[in-house]
């Protein structure tokens, strides 16, 4: 696959995961296995309404999914989508690592050629 960054990063997914409150929600859901806006709101310094809104964003990009639990929704993390997010973030960095590796190899090959030329 080409190394153009734009093709590797799903913007919606990353803007969803980029918010600190939403990351904290993912943390809490991973620790507890599941949670509702009420139970999660009790653990965070934000309102239940704000938590519900953040959960909605995470739901839309597939990072969490819900089942009905009384009048609320019970959320849990979607493992496959989380793995996809993780592989994207690794790809951005590793693409540059590979490029810099090649830069190093090319430059050092040229340098060796120069030195050899001087010696002969």
């Amino acid at each position: 696959m080409s190394t153009a960054l734009g093709e590797q990063v799903d913007d919606d997914l990353w803007s969803a995961i980029g918010d600190p409150t939403r990351r904290r929600l993912l943390d809490l859901l991973l620790i507890d296995g599941h949670g509702t806006a009420t139970t999660l709101g009790q653990q965070l310094p934000v309102t239940r309404q704000a938590v519900a809104k953040h959960l909605g964003v995470l739901d839309r990009v597939g990072l969490v999914w819900s089942t009905p639990a009384g009048r609320e929704k019970r959320y849990q993390v979607d493992d496959a989508q989380l793995a996809r997010a993780a592989s994207q973030l690794a790809a951005v960095g590793s693409a540059w690592d590979a490029r810099l590796d090649r830069i190093k190899r090319i430059a050092e090959t040229i340098q060796r050629t120069h030195r050899d030329t001087k010696q002969t």
């Binding site: 696959m1 080409s2 190394t3 153009a4 960054l5 734009g6 093709e7 990063v9 799903d10 913007d11 997914l13 990353w14 803007s15 995961i17 980029g18 990351r23 993912l26 943390d27 991973l30 620790i31 493992d79 496959a80 989380l82 793995a83 996809r84 993780a86 592989s87 994207q88 973030l89 690794a90 951005v92 960095g93 540059w96 690592d97 490029r99 810099l100 090649r102 830069i103 190093k104 090319i106 430059a107 050092e108 040229i110 340098q111 120069h114």
Partner: protein
């Protein structure tokens, strides 16, 4: 203002002049990155870099040289929409800084401007690599997922 940076630093056993040439000249750049590159390695030059076959899943990206001061600095912007002037907010800024180090060169690379393009990926990746605290619960769980799950791209 631009957010989000990938930073890398490495030592290269070659003089800054040679390393500068490798990171800046289109002939060399297409050996380590795109399949083709068209621009002049001077400040203000605009051009393109091509990945694969644009007719067949590949793509052409815009490329604008921001700064070229051999053998110290080479920077460029890329991914801005064709026809737009490269500026913060519409493109990624890549900067190479070269410092003589013994017989070789320390090369420092930064890529910034991820706000519009998932900049959090860069931040997360950095924390991921360095095991920085703050993701105490989240990150340890990511690692096994990456290792074990097959991921649709």
């Amino acid at each position: 203002m631009e957010y989000g940076t990938i930073e890398r630093e490495l030592y290269i056993d070659a003089t800054p002049e040679i390393v500068f040439d490798v990171v800046s000249s289109p002939e060399h750049v297409k050996q380590w990155w795109p399949d083709d590159a068209h621009y002049e390695p001077v400040a203000g030059s605009t051009g393109t870099i091509r990945f694969g076959d644009p007719e067949n899943g590949g793509g052409i990206e815009t490329f604008t040289v921001v700064d070229a001061r051999p053998p110290r600095t080479f920077s460029f912007r890329w991914t801005h929409p064709a026809g737009e002037v490269a500026a913060p907010g519409n493109s990624l800024l890549v900067t190479f800084e070269l410092t003589a180090s013994g017989a070789g060169t320390t090369l420092r690379m930064t890529e910034t401007g991820f706000r519009e393009m998932g900049w959090e990926a860069a931040v997360l990746e950095h924390q991921y690599q360095d095991h920085v605290s703050g993701w105490d619960y989240f990150l340890p769980r990511l690692v096994p997922y990456v290792a074990t799950l097959s991921v649709p791209s």
